[in-house]
Structure formats: structure tokens, C-alpha cells
């Protein structure tokens, strides 16, 4: 237990490693931050030093600033910081997403950040890591969330595009620029020409420049040719739902792609033409299998259904506690989209 205390401490600024003197995905500015992935609620502005996985580096520089002080490591290679062995392991959430493994005096802690256990066509598949303490997210920590396989999703999305084309409609997918957009590109690749919003385009460039191959897309310019776009595929951030840009897309059929679309009420809440449960997070069985595979003696459950999931884990004989964090904050993600909005206007 002592080693655990030396390794992690839950503070107001975030999850802290007293021995290593660094934070994991802190939500306030600190000296040294180790970052699980590039989403705005995990990789925040204002840290004096950043450490992340190789593929996240360009993303962080693109999103936070080119001048940040940042180092990176490949997956499964370790670096020792003040005696703590730190390594990144694939989390299968978005490009560059990693679980952060800490080891000190033989005691191991794994912080998952966000993760998805089901493989997709674009990010490195999740690899489970054995540990003593496992800090897991729980965004979709209810048994109603069970995802379709990537193949099934591909068929579903591509069929929707084909039906739209038969009805002379342009297919518009709404998904976050980091992660969902690239995932959708991979699911729709080869179906027809894909146009992406500038926010996605810029991020794609940053990702491609760091050496990762992405499916071919075209930038959706502000003065796009309506005839050219007709019946094609468009991907834009969800913040643009109801925007003038979207309204100008000829005969648009709009789909939201998110795990929340699993529930009818959520699909129907916004006036869109379709909702697809495409999520970058683990589903219920994914969460349970990850917890079991970690073989951890102590689990901490962060953002999402932490009360439900930790209660259930305790019932099936796994010691778990809730951990209140500031991850998964919708407002933060919305703010991110608003800033993306501004880029085009």
C-alpha cells in the first residue's frame, strides 16, 4: 500500500505521482504533465513540460501550441523519471492514445485515460497491461452499451450513404475532429469522395506530417461547389449542427456518430436524419474485460458512470472506488468545437 501512495495521489490539480513529481492529464497548469491522448479534457493548455506517446506529439503541438515543451516515447518503451518507470501502451481510443503505466519498487499503476477495447481500422489496438492499481474511465459504464463490430458499422454507414445517394442526398457525418473524424474516414474509405471541415483537415495534416497514413480526403472550402458536393460524403465537427455551412450542403442527410446514439431518446433529441452508435470508448463488456485483464487488486473508476460501475465491480468481487475527476466534461469539448467554428467564419 505504501508504494501505491508513493506512486499516485489524487489532488485538486489532477492525478499526481509524488515520487515521480509529475501529473497525469492534470486539469490545472503544473510543472510536468504526462498526457494520455490529445482530447481537450485530457491534454490541457499551460503545462511547463509535456510527455506523451509519439503519435500524439504532433496533435498536441497542433492543438495546444507549436512552442510547447514536449517529449514523446513510442508505445511500450519506458523512461525513468525520478526513479519511476513510465511507459505508454496502446489504448485504442484515438490516434496516439495511450494508457500510462507507472512502476516503482515493483508496484504498478495503470491510468487508462480514455480507451476502447474493440479494434478499429485506424488506431493501434488496445493492449491490456497487468498492474496492481488500475484507474479506468467509465463513460459507457452501463450494460445497455454494447457496440457493433467495426465490420458491422462499416456496412451500416456505407449502406446509409448508398441509400442517400439513391435519394439524391449528400451524407453529412458529425463527429469530433480528433478521433471520430479519422475513424469515420476509415469506415467510409472507398465508398465515395470524402470532404472534411477545415478543423478536421488541419488536424489530419498534422497527423499525416508526423508519418501516419490517413484515407484520402478533400478540404471542404467555405465557397464549395454545390454541384460537386452533391451525393458525396462530408465530415464535420458536431458543433456545426445547425450552422450556415451545414445548411448550404445540398440535400444534406445528417448523422450524428457517438456512443450516446445507442439510445433512441438521444437519437431523437437532435433533429438529424440518423444516429449511429460509433464510439471511441469501451462498451460495458469492454470495460469489464479490461478490468479483469489488468488483474488489479484496486480499481479506481473515473469519469462517466463511476457510481454504477464501481458498485458493480465490488459486487463481482473486484475492489473498486469512485474517483471524481474533471475528464469527460462536455462543456470543454463544446468550447473546443466553438473555437473550431470560429476558424471558418
Amino acid at each position: 500500500m505504501k508504494a501505491e501512495k508513493e506512486l499516485i495521489k489524487f489532488t485538486k490539480r489532477g492525478i499526481y505521482c509524488p515520487q515521480g513529481k509529475f501529473y497525469l492529464d492534470p486539469w490545472y497548469p503544473v510543472e510536468y504533465a504526462i498526457i494520455s491522448h490529445g482530447h481537450a479534457d485530457h491534454a490541457r493548455w499551460g503545462m511547463k513540460r509535456y510527455l506523451c506517446q509519439d503519435d500524439s506529439k504532433a496533435i498536441l503541438q497542433h492543438r495546444i501550441g507549436a512552442d510547447i515543451k514536449i517529449d514523446s516515447l513510442p508505445y511500450n518503451k519506458s523512461k525513468t523519471i525520478n526513479g519511476v518507470k513510465v511507459s505508454f501502451h496502446p489504448a485504442g481510443h484515438v490516434i496516439g492514445s495511450a494508457q500510462i503505466r507507472l512502476e516503482y519498487k515493483g508496484y504498478i499503476v495503470v491510468f487508462t485515460g480514455d480507451y476502447k477495447t474493440q479494434p478499429d481500422f485506424i488506431s493501434q489496438p488496445f493492449e491490456s497491461v497487468k498492474c496492481h492499481t488500475f484507474i479506468t474511465e467509465s463513460t459507457f459504464g452501463l450494460p445497455i452499451y454494447n457496440w457493433k463490430t467495426e465490420k458491422e458499422l462499416q456496412e451500416e454507414l456505407q449502406n446509409w450513404v448508398k441509400t442517400n445517394q439513391a435519394n439524391n442526398r449528400t451524407s453529412v457525418f458529425l463527429g469530433y475532429s480528433l478521433g471520430k473524424a479519422q475513424r469515420l474516414m476509415s469506415l467510409l474509405d472507398g465508398c465515395d469522395d470524402i470532404y472534411v471541415h477545415r478543423a478536421i483537415h488541419n488536424l489530419n495534416n498534422a497527423i499525416s506530417n508526423s508519418g501516419i497514413k490517413l484515407p484520402k480526403t478533400t478540404l471542404l472550402t467555405a465557397d464549395f461547389d454545390k454541384k460537386e458536393l452533391q451525393n458525396k460524403i462530408v465530415i464535420m465537427p458536431p458543433g456545426l449542427l445547425g450552422s450556415r455551412l451545414l445548411k448550404r450542403v445540398p440535400n444534406a442527410a445528417t448523422a450524428i456518430c457517438s456512443g450516446w446514439m445507442q439510445i433512441r431518446g438521444n437519437r431523437r433529441w437532435q433533429s438529424v436524419d440518423a444516429g449511429f452508435a460509433v464510439s471511441d470508448h469501451a462498451d460495458w463488456n469492454g470495460l469489464i474485460s479490461a478490468v479483469r485483464a489488468s488483474e488489479a487488486e484496486q480499481v479506481y473508476v473515473t469519469h462517466g458512470s463511476q457510481a454504477v460501475f464501481s458498485k458493480y465491480l465490488n459486487e463481482i468481487g473486484i475492489k473498486a472506488d469512485e474517483l471524481i475527476t474533471e475528464y469527460g466534461d462536455d462543456k470543454m469539448i463544446e468550447a473546443e468545437n466553438e473555437s473550431e467554428n470560429l476558424e471558418t467564419s
Binding site: 452501463l142 450494460p143 439510445i263 431518446g265 438521444n266 431523437r268
Partner: protein, 529 residues
């Protein structure tokens, strides 16, 4: 079932009535004849009785999934719909069952008298042979509302678009008596089983809200003023000893109001009258909230008939002994109506809308302000010479409602809605100050924009005191202006007051909870109105 499943998917995703109608038309063009009849039956309350209790469905789902009850309930409160929760929780199908809608319905009909064990076997077989959306539909076929925003009227409009037959006639046809085993789809929509001549309604004449000074209306002698009763508008059609009641939404609601039908049999004459259907007890009009208990019910039981009796205030007469008299001046029609009503002795709950006597326009102000005391919404001003217009026309009829009352209250509970609203906290309970604490004064569900609801839902998620269950107690922080139509002392309510038709007027982000109204202030409104 795929066809039906696709139809439901197409309807549930859109909130545009025209898109729903198009999807229905498309279904009617391509589905097997018997399936079309079942669709109509399902959406007009003509479904067979539920063969399996919901408690059993829940129990069997827990058995199949091996989930603890609390987790099942937690899932249910997130989804907000039992059939859907079960569909989402079950493991992936192991094989593929492909039956048409009518085949499923026939199976379900046969299931009713069977033992629970046999029913369970049937349900398990169906669950493991259907995909998620089909499973949801299967669960809904057993019982429960689809909640996809398809009213009888939507259905009828789709059939009208498909066939070109008059929508009201179709309404009568689908509401009328027909048996799915003996009628064909063509016979049903042609209405071979009904006589539409006996039920045919007229379009309602509607009024605009008064937008000028009373004095600008001219000579008060040219006008008839009545109370604007707050019930539901209804048209009673009596022809050839048949009686039909149409709502303003052009739905046939005859069966919901047996006491009106019975009273109308007293008349010898044939007629079509327009009036207000109200909850009425001991000669007094009750609150709209009470009337709501009687609306949209498949069966009205004896207890409810006694608890919330229905009455009718007649406003106008449109047809008398077979003659359409809508073009006659209102004053003349009113005289005809009075003669009709005075010709026989009528039960107490059937009344003529009384005429408000006044000499000068100014005198109406006080009468309007007093409307609340008799559970009226305000006044109606009708030009004596006016015909009974089709639809809404400016100038001849005006409604002049009392201004709503308002209080500032704080939210203390939030609950998720149903249907489209099931993903958000949309139903709120509000409190005002009482001594050092708070006391509940109203529940309200309407008045906020989707954006505000989303913002409040997020706030509730963060500020809820409970972690489990459907109702969330929240910190008393968010202040809202609650508007309502009336207020009365009430023994049934903890606060001692009952508000009539409360809704959210606006979110008072500018006001801290310390500045909300007290119960004393709220009570003083009763005395002042």
C-alpha cells in the same frame, strides 16, 4: 418484420410530421395487406390485450442477462423505456427469425391463454432470433406505446395522401367498428363498414388573440361576449340517431365522453354544435388538470366517471335538421341554439355558454379579471353578424385571455422525460420558501428551449444528490419564473395551494435562490384574484 422495423426507424428519427407521413405512405404502398391493417390497429388503440405482464418481461430479461435488479433499474432509468432497455441489455441474437408483422401479432394473440412457462419459452426464442431494433419492436408489440409521435391524425393524413379520400372520413373509418379478421385494407379505407354522412364534421372556426384596444372594435352592441372556457373544443354531431364527438385536432373522441353522448340522446332534432368539453362537478367548472385525467383513455371506468364528470358548454350551432347554417349571422345561430336548448329540460352538465352582459367596453375589464375565479381563461368577443368561418380568420372573433400569474421558484427535483425527452432531465419540481425551508409548489415540463434543457441536464448530472434512480434531488440553486393560469387552496397539496397549468416562463439566471417567493406571497395571489 424488417419492413415494419424500417418504418419505425424512419418515423422515430424525425420530428417533421411530413417526413413521418411520407414514411407511412411508403409503407402503405409496399406492405402486405394484413400488415397494413395491423399497423392501423396498433396506432389507433385497437391492439389486442397485452399477453404478458411487464413484470415478467423484466424478470425474464434479468434471468437471461444475469444482471442484478439494481443495475437493470439503473439502465431502465437511463433509457426511459422498458421495451428498449430490454432490447439493449439482451445478448446478441444467435439466429434469424423472419416473420411479418401480422404473423407476429397472430402468434401473440395465441399466446394470451398459455402458461407463463410457455410464454417464457416463446419470448426467449423471439429475443434470441431478433436484432436489437426488431427486438425493441417485438417488445412493443407485446404491449406499450411506441412513443414515436404518430397520432391518429398523422396516420389518417398519410392514408388521405395515399388514397385521396377525405381525412375526416378516414378518421371515422379507422375509429369505427371493424374486425381485422374479416375486413380488407381496401374495405377499411373505403369505409364500407361506416356511414360517413352521419359523422361528417365541419372545420372549426378559430379566433385570434385580441391585438387592439376594445374601443377600436366599434359599437359594443354589435358584439356578443362569452367566457373563454379552458377545456377542449368539441363538435357534437347528431344525425339519424347517431352521435359523434370530434375534437379540434379532428380526432373522434366519442367514446371518451359517454355522459355527453347520453345527454345528447335527449334531443329529437339533428344538429352539429360547437362547444367546450370541460370537467364539471356540482355545477362548477374544474381545473384543466382534472380534465386531463379523462383525455386519451381507451376505457373510462366507473370510478373515473364519478371522480371527474364531464360537462359541455355549447357555443354555436353549425347545422340544424340537416341544413348547414354556418353562413347565417352569429346572433341568429345563437338564437337557434337557445331555442334548441330551451326546448327540452337538459341535465345539469349540458349548458348554453352564457352571454356576458355589458354596456360599455370598459366594463369588460373587471369581468375579464374575474375569470380566474370561475376557472375561465378570459373572454371571447364575437361579432353578431359573423358567419361561422372555416379555420382562423381575423376580425370577427377575438380571444381576450387573462394574463398569467407568475412566481419565482427554485428547482429541487429533476426527472428524465419520456420518448424524445428520455435522454434529458426535462421534468422539474419547484419550491418556494416556507419558514426556514422550502415547500414544493409545482411541477412543470414545458417552456424551455432544447438548448436550455441540455444545459440544465448537464447541471443536474453534476449537482444531483442521489447517484441512483430516476429522480434526482438537486441543490436548490436554479431559479425559474413559473407562470400559471390560476391558483386555489388545496388540501391535497403539501403547500396548501394548487396551481393551474403551471409552466416555465423563463430561467432566471439573474436571480439567486435567496430571492425566490415565499409561500405567503403565493397564497396572497389567491385572495387577489
Amino acid at each position: 418484420m424488417k419492413q415494419f422495423s424500417d418504418l419505425i426507424s424512419a418515423i422515430e428519427i424525425t420530428n417533421k410530421t411530413n417526413a413521418k407521413i411520407d414514411a407511412l405512405v411508403n409503407y402503405f404502398k409496399t406492405a402486405p395487406s394484413k400488415d397494413k391493417l395491423w399497423l392501423i390497429a396498433l396506432f389507433t388503440g385497437k391492439r389486442p390485450p397485452r399477453p404478458i405482464k411487464t413484470a415478467l418481461m423484466k424478470q425474464w430479461c434479468m434471468e437471461k442477462t444475469e444482471l442484478p435488479e439494481w443495475l437493470f433499474l439503473e439502465s431502465y432509468s437511463t433509457v426511459g423505456d422498458l421495451g428498449e432497455t430490454i432490447a439493449l441489455l439482451l445478448p446478441k441474437p444467435t439466429h434469424k427469425l423472419d416473420l411479418t408483422l401480422s404473423e407476429w401479432m397472430n402468434e401473440l394473440k395465441l399466446l394470451k391463454p398459455k402458461s407463463d412457462e410457455e410464454k417464457k419459452k416463446f419470448v426467449f426464442a423471439a429475443w434470441s432470433g431478433l436484432k436489437q431494433q426488431e427486438r425493441l419492436i417485438f417488445n412493443k408489440l407485446i404491449g406499450g406505446n411506441f412513443r414515436i409521435g404518430v397520432s391518429k391524425k398523422t396516420l389518417v393524413n398519410a392514408l388521405a395522401k395515399l388514397t385521396g379520400i377525405d381525412a375526416n372520413q378516414l378518421m371515422h373509418s379507422i375509429i369505427g367498428n371493424w374486425d381485422i379478421d374479416t375486413i380488407s385494407f381496401e374495405e377499411l379505407i373505403k369505409g364500407t363498414h361506416i356511414n360517413y354522412d352521419n359523422s361528417k364534421p365541419y372545420p372549426f372556426c378559430l379566433a385570434y388573440a385580441l391585438e387592439k384596444e376594445l374601443q377600436e372594435l366599434g359599437d359594443p352592441d354589435d358584439w356578443i361576449v362569452e367566457q373563454k372556457w379552458d377545456g377542449i373544443r368539441g363538435q357534437i354531431v347528431k344525425r339519424n340517431n347517431e352521435i359523434y364527438i370530434w375534437s379540434r385536432g379532428e380526432e373522434l373522441v366519442t367514446k371518451q365522453f359517454p355522459e355527453l353522448v347520453e345527454a345528447m340522446t335527449n334531443f329529437k332534432e339533428d344538429f352539429v354544435i360547437d362547444g367546450e368539453i370541460l370537467a364539471m362537478k356540482d355545477n362548477a367548472v374544474l381545473l384543466f388538470n382534472d380534465l386531463q385525467k379523462r383525455l386519451n383513455r381507451k376505457n373510462v371506468n366507473k370510478k373515473l366517471l364519478e371522480e371527474v364528470p364531464i360537462g359541455f358548454y355549447a357555443y354555436d350551432i353549425l347545422e340544424f335538421n340537416g341544413n348547414d347554417i354556418r353562413s347565417l349571422p352569429f346572433a341568429t345561430r345563437r338564437q337557434t341554439l337557445e331555442n334548441l336548448f330551451n326546448s327540452i329540460s337538459l341535465p345539469e352538465h349540458i349548458k348554453l355558454s352564457f352571454i356576458v352582459k355589458f354596456n360599455k367596453w370598459e366594463a369588460l375589464n373587471a369581468i375579464r379579471d374575474n375569470s380566474r375565479a370561475i376557472n375561465s381563461e378570459g373572454l371571447m368577443l364575437k361579432q353578431k353578424a359573423s358567419p361561422y368561418h372555416t379555420g382562423r380568420k381575423k376580425g370577427d372573433w377575438w380571444k381576450w385571455k387573462v394574463d398569467p400569474l407568475t412566481i419565482d421558484a427554485v428547482m429541487i427535483y429533476a426527472q428524465k422525460g419520456s420518448g424524445r425527452r428520455s435522454s434529458k432531465y426535462t421534468d422539474y419540481t419547484f419550491a418556494v420558501k416556507k419558514d426556514d425551508g422550502l415547500v414544493t409548489v409545482a411541477k412543470a415540463y414545458s417552456g424551455l428551449t432544447d438548448k436550455e434543457i441540455t444545459e440544465i441536464s448537464r447541471w443536474v448530472n453534476k449537482n444531483a444528490i442521489e447517484k441512483f434512480g430516476p429522480v434526482r434531488t438537486v441543490k436548490p440553486e436554479l431559479v425559474f419564473e413559473i407562470a400559471f393560469e390560476g391558483i386555489a387552496f388545496s388540501k391535497r397539496h403539501k403547500s396548501g395551494v394548487a396551481l393551474r397549468f403551471p409552466r416555465i416562463a423563463r430561467w432566471r439566471k439573474d436571480k439567486p435562490a435567496s430571492e425566490i417567493d415565499t409561500l405567503e406571497t403565493v397564497k396572497s395571489l389567491i385572495l387577489s384574484c
